[in-house]
């Protein structure tokens, strides 16, 4: 297996990533700040209160954006895991390693914002009949499982590959869980509370604000993941010549 893919290793080399992201980061951070400011200001100051939900609908702008982003973590980790298992590119694992806790945090934020919104709209902080909350909860459990597997295995390479495999299995499983929970839910819904459908009564200004927010949150995700990965690179490559030079320059 090894040896054959050495050229590919160089393509995804940590050094290459570090240098590229050094150039990209200011732009990404700038774009993130812009979208975040516009999105938040729009949602909080300019969005007209919903005729049905009142000011509560502002929470949805954040909730929908965070929820959408948190759905991308398992596919991301599964893709990185495939790269780790097949091509042994260390960079993929460095990304995957930090994607898991970040994903858990985003999933938690989705649950928290959803439940705050629900506390106003449904009068309850938790509602089992909302299948999205329930499948998010299980996604959180699965992500926590990946994180705890990572911490349990001492050997970094074994941990990387074990977590890669678990992420792929988990990614398939999240999809199955989502559909089965949806199914389960439609059968357990005697009196449907107000559904969390976002679109129906809302005008285009709500959607545009949400879109801006989605872009902002995705940028935030990219920036956090890149920063975490850069730290990981410095930590893992601390013996490499270029890292030493970098540290020497910084001093």
């Amino acid at each position: 297996m090894s040896g054959r893919w050495q050229w590919f290793h160089r393509l995804g080399s940590p050094k290459w990533f570090y240098e590229k992201t050094t150039r990209w980061l200011p732009w990404l951070v700038g774009a993130m700040a812009l979208f975040l400011t516009v999105g938040v200001a729009w949602a909080l100051l300019f969005l007209p209160p919903d005729y049905q939900q009142g000011h509560t609908s502002r929470i949805l702008v954040v909730h929908v954006a965070v929820a959408g982003t948190s759905l991308s973590f398992f596919p991301l980790m599964a893709a990185a895991g495939t790269v780790t298992l097949v091509w042994r590119i260390k960079l993929a694992d460095m990304v995957a390693k930090h994607a898991a806790p970040l994903g858990a945090w985003f999933t938690f934020l989705t649950l928290a914002s959803g439940s705050i919104w629900g506390s106003v709209m449904w009068g309850t902080w938790w509602e089992w009949t909302d299948s999205r909350l329930v499948s998010m909860l299980f996604q959180l459990f699965l992500l926590l499982g990946v994180i705890s597997l990572r911490t349990a295995i001492e050997n970094a390479e074994t941990a990387a590959r074990a977590c890669a495999l678990l992420s792929i299995v988990g990614c398939i499983n999240v999809v199955i869980i989502k559909y089965s929970v949806d199914w389960w839910n439609t059968l357990h819904q005697p009196s449907s509370p107000i559904s969390m459908e976002v679109g129906n009564p809302n005008g285009p200004e709500f959607w545009v604000a949400t879109l801006v927010m989605i872009v902002a949150v995705y940028l935030f995700l990219a920036v956090s993941l890149i920063l975490a990965t850069r730290n990981e690179i410095l930590e893992r490559e601390n013996n490499a010549q270029w890292v030493r030079e970098l540290v020497a320059q910084a001093r």
Partner: protein
Amino acid sequence: MTEISQDASPLLEVRALTCERGERLLFRDLEFSLDSGQVLQVKGGNGSGKTTLMRIVCGLNDSFEGELYWRGDALGERWDAFHANLLYIGHRLAVNHVLTPLENLRWSCRLHDPADDSGIREALAEMDLAGYEDSPCYSLSAGQQQRVSLARLLLSSAALWILDEPFTTLDVDGVALLENLVARHAREGGAVLITTHHKLVLPRLRTLTLGVAR
């Protein structure tokens, strides 16, 4: 590191083998080949990577760079064919404690070669375990358990034996027995890769010492 000259068509060939564990380099650009009829003894201090080398050659450990060749074919595609010709006995003996020697060997032989009970009994008798065939392995001593594991050498048709510290718990008779087995295997055209601190006396013995470079 000792380099060993290459033959025309070696059974096993290792080229430019480099392995790091954690941040520590175990060996770099290790090269050796093993021909039929040869015994290669791997030496080196604790932590010099003897067991890691054994496991790499077996295909259990793939955290390495370099190439392995079996009869001239690069391994990596054809592990199955290689494994059919390989017998590995590691630190862990693969002897289940609740099973009897007979039951243990029935299974481990089936993973490779068909073997009938009479063959297994003969092999156990040759390992001086006659009468113990049907006692559970937890009632055997450590040395006897090792003999159960080594009985697989008699039952296998594998060309390459990889033995990791096979002498540790054997008594004097056991040591002589195993030395004879290794010598016979080499004489019959097999090859043996062995780690031991034991002083082996064999006609075509070669040695490879790990950990010298550091």
